[in-house]
Symmetry: C2
Subunit: 140 residues, 2 copies
DNA sequence: ATATTTAAAGACCTTTTTATCTTTTTTTAT
DNA sequence: ATAAAAAAAGATAAAAAGGTCTTTAAATAT
């Protein structure tokens, strides 16, 4: 239901949310080792998140990534939009041109409802919430 | 949320459900033309469905595909299993080894619920139901 | 200033998904 | 028997997703 890249991103962001601050940055290597996502691959994803101001990064000794205060309030949906584009989860399930209640395809009123619920939840969940989850500390 | 192939399969099966019977078979060409799915691609999918007894097919003049009576009661979930394997929608969203309520990852209790709901609906919906949908006749 | 540490960028490779083409087999009509 | 119609099978190709490697740029400590 969620792509590989998105699952990796969420894991990495949960990890960073716990272990970083503006003064205590976390290195790529540490993120990669802890989350068990290949280093160059998670690097690509984190770069994308930095470009989109979810994370900040500092180069050089003692450099690394950190989650800004604002970043913690970013929703999962915003991360989906950054990594997979705004159309993800926003098209007719049978690829009809229009998807709306006035001319619904046979899936619109049943599977489509699940999609609406998914979008709603992705929009509600922030990293500030996720980092408070009991298991998120010993996820890795 | 649903793969390309699955959406194609569902469209094709809805079309076949309306236009075929054991004596009135429908050709690959007609399915492809009507659903606007590339012929060789939908052929592969239909072959897979025939091998798994969702459809039957007859070669030669007046041959084609048809939906057996039993086939109409097959659920969308069964089609998912045939086309994408039994693991689809059945793994932890963050790829942890076990996914269960006793040791849930941070997504298990929110996004995970959506997945449960999706599975439930995929399991409930049959082609007999879909073919009764008002729009399914002029979908194509 | 220099060397070291670290992320950024971009080129490259592999696998999976999506799509096409060609040949073979089966069935039917003549 | 023969020809035509149609699905089955398999080889191939293109695109996207997933993953790796190398070089460059920036920051810091010495
Ligand atoms: S019309 Fe198909 S999902 Fe809305
Ligand atoms: S433990 Fe991750 S979705 Fe169930």
């Amino acid at each position: 239901m969620l792509s590989n890249s998105l699952a990796y991103a969420i894991k990495a962001l949960i990890y960073i949310s716990h272990n970083s601050s503006e003064t205590e940055r976390i290195t790529l290597k540490e993120v990669s080792d802890s989350t068990e996502v290949p280093k160059p691959y998670i690097a690509k994803i984190l770069q994308d998140l930095v470009r989109n101001n979810v994370l900040h990064s500092i180069k050089g000794p003692n450099g690394g990534f950190y989650f800004s205060e604002e970043g913690l309030d970013i929703s999962l949906l915003q991360v989906v939009h950054i990594l997979e584009g705004p159309d993800k989860y926003n098209k007719c399930l049978l690829s009809l041109k229009d998807c709306n209640a006035s001319s619904p395809c046979p899936l619109h009123d049943n599977i489509g409802q699940v999609r609406v619920e998914l979008l709603k939840r992705l929009e509600q969940i922030t990293f500030r919430q996720l980092m408070q989850h009991k298991k998120s500390v010993d996820l890795f």
